[in-house]
């Protein structure tokens, strides 16, 4: 919270109510606490107000007010982010978009849709599914996360190996700029005029303004799908199989790896048919035309066998396919059985560096006297080591954070990145120098100045800053959507 005088707090409250109505403004500290964290429960920050606009005009009026009053503000979607991106680090206003959920237009001829930012990702695919279409980016949180949050974080998912991440599916945005002006970036047509502002807005983690309408591409559902499970006695063999598949000219829709710790947790919990004693398994999905699908599957099987797979199995039917995916997707829920808590890391490496980096990850975690489960997007080289720990033991959470930083350093050293999908937010601000020089960061900062010159829009993120009233740990809590069994962390 900021240090507002009581009279100012009240007059601001009245002004906000004038814009969105009394029922759409929260000021009670008890109610505000619901919005103090996101999916990364390590950090907390309390807003002065949480407001729920229902239209672009309202968002614009709110932002104009914040700008006039010098009040920091931040957009919030579903709050499933895993880097603290939507936290009001300096207090002020949380602009929650959960009431802007309409699908404004679906144009099948042009394979696009125009949606409001609070729309839940999966709801779009549900809406267009009956006509044979879907929205491709599929974060594991897709039953809860919003398209606005996806835009801000440039979110990915298992199927982004073939189909790309959020940015590859966004054509245009209506944005409320940090001074309240409403502008369109891009639109429904391709190759927008001038600089690709849509392209830089996506992935800007809510620091360039608030997206109020989003034009997305829709894809046709594939004619055929094939899912293969390959089990390995050595994790290095599984890593090599990943490169071997790519080297054979195949581009699977998904190529995921699950290590032994995870397999055993999953099998104990759900019994999905993964071999318990395997060191690692690959889940490989091909999709596309029915023609040639068999031949492609054969190439995948051969690549796995040559890399030393001890067992390769193709799902016979949709039921078996679902079961295999369940094993992959319920991994995080399963960790709960073997550990009181875990923290998900997110780093990227060139996929040919997998064997080396996975070895290093295990060493780092072991040296910290902790355990790790790996379940990740191997085809993209997007690692998600999940460090298992007990938050009640003094000092353990700090060791987890430290080990996480070391892992990211290794990712950086092999030419990778410190985040593949969860973003920098609050969590990784201090790690940016692992991969960016002062000149790189200064350039990013200049671009931010162009959009957000006063810095009121989502302050204290991405770039290190001193001014902040964030509280940290010890704080592991399962995210509400995990508790409801709606999603697992990838």
């Amino acid at each position: 919270m900021t240090t507002l005088t009581e009279s100012r707090r009240q007059s601001l409250g009245r002004a906000l109510e004038g814009i969105v109505g009394k029922a759409a403004v929260l000021t009670d500290p008890q109610e505000l606490m619901v919005y103090e964290s996101d999916g990364l429960t390590l950090f907390r920050a309390l807003a002065d107000f949480v407001v729920f606009p229902t239209s672009t005009q309202q968002v614009s009026a709110l932002v104009r007010l914040a700008d006039a009053e010098g009040l920091p503000f931040v957009a919030r979607g579903a709050g499933t982010g895993l880097s603290g991106g939507c936290l009001p680090t300096e207090g002020g206003l949380v602009i929650a978009l959960s009431r802007m959920t309409r699908i404004l237009e679906v144009d099948y001829d042009n394979q696009l849709a125009v949606v409001e930012p609070g729309l839940v990702n999966l709801h779009l695919s549900w809406a267009v599914g009956p006509r044979g279409y879907y929205y491709a980016p599929d974060p594991a949180s897709q039953q809860a996360c919003t398209i606005g949050g996806n835009i801000a974080n440039n979110s990915g998912g298992p199927h982004t190996l073939k189909y790309g991440v959020t940015t590859n599916h966004v054509l245009g945005l209506e944005v409320v700029l940090p001074d309240g002006e409403v502008v369109w970036l891009g639109g429904k047509t391709r190759d927008p005029l001038g600089y690709d502002l849509t392209g830089v807005f996506v992935g800007s983690e809510g620091t360039f303004g608030i997206a109020t309408k989003i034009v997305v591409r829709l894809l046709k559902k594939p004619q055929a799908v094939k899912t293969v499970l390959a089990a390995f006695d050595e994790i290095d063999r599984a890593s090599e199989a990943v490169s071997a598949i790519i080297a054979r000219g195949l581009v699977p829709a998904a190529l995921e790896m699950i290590d032994q710790v995870t397999i055993q947790a999953v099998e104990d919990a759900f019994g999905c048919g993964y071999p318990r004693d395997a060191a690692a398994a690959l889940l490989i999905e091909l999709d596309g035309l029915a023609a040639g699908m068999e031949a492609q599957a054969e190439r995948v099987v051969a690549a796995c066998r040559e890399a030393g797979a001890r067992e390769v199995r193709t799902a016979k039917d949709e039921a078996e396919r679902q079961l295999l995916w369940k094993g992959r997707k319920s991994a995080f829920g399963a960790y709960g059985r073997v550990s009181p808590a875990y923290m998900v890391m997110d780093g990227v490496i060139p996929r040919t560096k997998l064997p080396y980096v996975l070895r290093r990850v295990n060493e780092i975690v072991a040296a910290a006297n902790l355990r790790v489960g790996n379940v990740f997007h191997a085809g993209d080289g997007n690692l998600h080591p999940n460090i298992l720990y007990d938050p009640r033991r003094p000092g353990e959470e700090a060791r987890v954070v430290q080990a996480g930083a070391e892992i990211l350093k290794v990712c950086a050293e092999v030419g990778g990145s410190i985040s593949g999908e969860h973003g920098i937010g609050l969590e990784k601000m201090d790690y940016m120098p692992f991969i960016f020089s002062p000149a790189d960061l200064a350039t990013m900062h200049r671009v931010k100045e162009a959009f957000n010159p006063r810095g009121l829009c989502n302050p204290g993120k991405i770039f290190p800053t001193k001014k902040s009233c964030v509280e940290t740990g010890p704080a592991y809590r399962a995210h509400p959507i995990e508790e409801k069994g709606l999603a697992q962390r990838f």
């Binding site: 502008v183 392209g199 990013m444």
Partner: protein, 444 residues
């Protein structure tokens, strides 16, 4: 330019890499001759040149292969032409990672040759690959027919090294295919036409080379039928890599449908495994038979390559002497109609027109010819076209026209309210305005 300054430039790159005087004729732009053309051999040299230019306030025009250098408003100032052709090394190619990092001055064909030797390619197919450089392709956001399936530069560029206006070397993105650390700076440089920085290195995503690659060419009596055919294809299970449309004039101009009375043709590209390509060609035939084609052919090998080349280089091939070329972006469903209306408008102005389109993404190339000595008919037709595109909710770029026409018809549409942000970005990244001043959208 003072000779002392020229000496400094020679000191940076070596005298043999600086052109002056009559040697500058290939670098004359809209009738203006630069003070010098310089060809640095390293990123450090580019950096030193820009630091100098920035100190002295000299305008700099980055120059790749020059295939798209004419796009843009006439330059406000033309100082140094900075040629990238010596920065032509492929730096890294790890097939298992499906990525490559190259210097920006490599030509597309040279790059593709190196990648092909290891079974991969960069899935971009703009015109003039033998001359166009990687950096220029990115800076101009150039694309070709296969963008339909494989996307454009924004889908393929994962990292970029840029020399900024003040000479500092800046990296954006990285070398991995998935990366959300920090802002997505590579997007900013794509299509920025050299106004924000000079791209010196780029890391791109690659694809495996397909086993098989064919083109199904289907001619229809009327252009309208082509539009209908596109709709059929998009609603089917087919996964073409290219969906292009040529009108009757374009087909005749490039000689793609000899002896056929046709108002337009649909060109479908299919690539991938042999079995897939065969099934798709057969399925496309079956599907399009229902739309009443007047002729259909499947092209392979040289015939296929030649056909795609005609499509890509339509502007330079369709008429012996084209008067102007406009690139339009409209909704895919409007392509056939917009072409018909634009054709009628050209006729009213007494001109000939030909059209090619990446139909399913709504990108149309429109070429004008005729008008004789006077620029007036061309100006009138271009104005009508612009109006037409505006009414359809799209936008247009005047890609090629004589200076007399450019003085009357804007190269770029006005950017609207977002232009304010573009200007601010320009001021932030090039505060002295030395990079390609005045050539871009909104006078940037």
């Amino acid at each position: 330019m003072h000779s002392a300054l020229l000496d400094k430039i020679r000191g940076i790159v070596g005298a043999e890499s600086v052109l002056t005087g009559v040697e500058l004729s290939p670098y004359v732009l809209e009738g203006r001759t630069p003070a010098a053309a310089v060809f640095p051999g390293s990123v450090e040299e580019v950096s030193a040149l820009l630091a100098l230019a920035s100190d002295e306030g000299i305008a700099v025009t980055p120059w790749g292969g020059g295939t798209k250098i004419a796009i843009g408003a006439p330059p406000e100032r033309l100082g140094l032409v900075l040629g990238l052709r010596r920065l032509n090394r492929l730096l890294e190619h790890e097939p298992g990672d499906l990525t490559a990092t190259s210097q920006a001055g490599i030509t597309l064909d040279a790059l593709q040759g190196r990648l092909a030797a290891r079974g991969q390619w960069l899935s971009l197919d703009p015109a003039f690959g033998e001359q166009a450089t990687l950096g220029g392709i990115l800076a101009a956001n150039a694309s070709g027919p296969r963008r339909h399936l494989y996307g454009t530069a924004r889908d393929l560029l994962i990292g970029v090294t840029v020399v900024a206006a003040d000479g500092s070397v800046v990296k954006g993105g990285g070398k991995v295919v998935k990366n959300v650390a920090g802002y997505d700076l590579p997007k900013l440089y794509i299509g920025s036409f050299g106004t924000l920085g000079i791209i010196v290195e780029a890391t791109v995503k690659l694809r495996p080379r397909p086993d098989d690659d064919r083109l199904v060419l289907t001619c229809f009596e009327r252009l309208k039928d082509c539009g209908q055919a596109v709709r059929l294809v998009l609603a089917s299970d087919l996964i073409p890599s290219a969906v292009d449309l040529l009108d009757g004039e374009a087909l005749r101009g490039v000689g793609l449908a000899p002896g056929v009375e046709t108002g337009g043709a649909l060109l479908l590209g299919f690539d991938g495994m042999r079995e897939q390509v065969e099934w798709q060609c057969e399925e496309a035939r079956r599907l399009l038979a229902g739309a009443g084609p007047v002729a259909q052919r499947v092209l392979e090998a040289e015939a296929r390559d030649a056909a795609w080349r005609s499509v890509r280089e339509l502007g330079g091939r369709v008429f012996p002497e084209a008067a102007a070329q406009l690139r339009l972006a409209v909704l895919p469903s409007q392509v056939a109609e917009v072409i018909e209306q634009a054709g009628a408008a050209a006729q009213r102005c007494g001109l000939r027109a030909a059209f090619g389109a990446h139909a399913a993404v709504g990108i149309v190339t429109a070429v004008l010819a005729g008008g004789g000595e006077s620029a007036q008919p061309v100006i009138a037709a271009l104005r009508e076209w612009r109006e037409l595109v505006r009414a359809a909710g799209g936008h247009a770029v005047l890609e090629r026209a004589p200076l007399a026409v450019k003085e009357q018809v804007a190269v770029w549409d006005p950017p609207g309210p977002a232009g304010r942000i573009m200007e601010r970005i320009k001021i932030q990244l090039d505060p002295k305005g030395i990079l390609n001043p005045g050539r871009f959208v909104g006078g940037i």
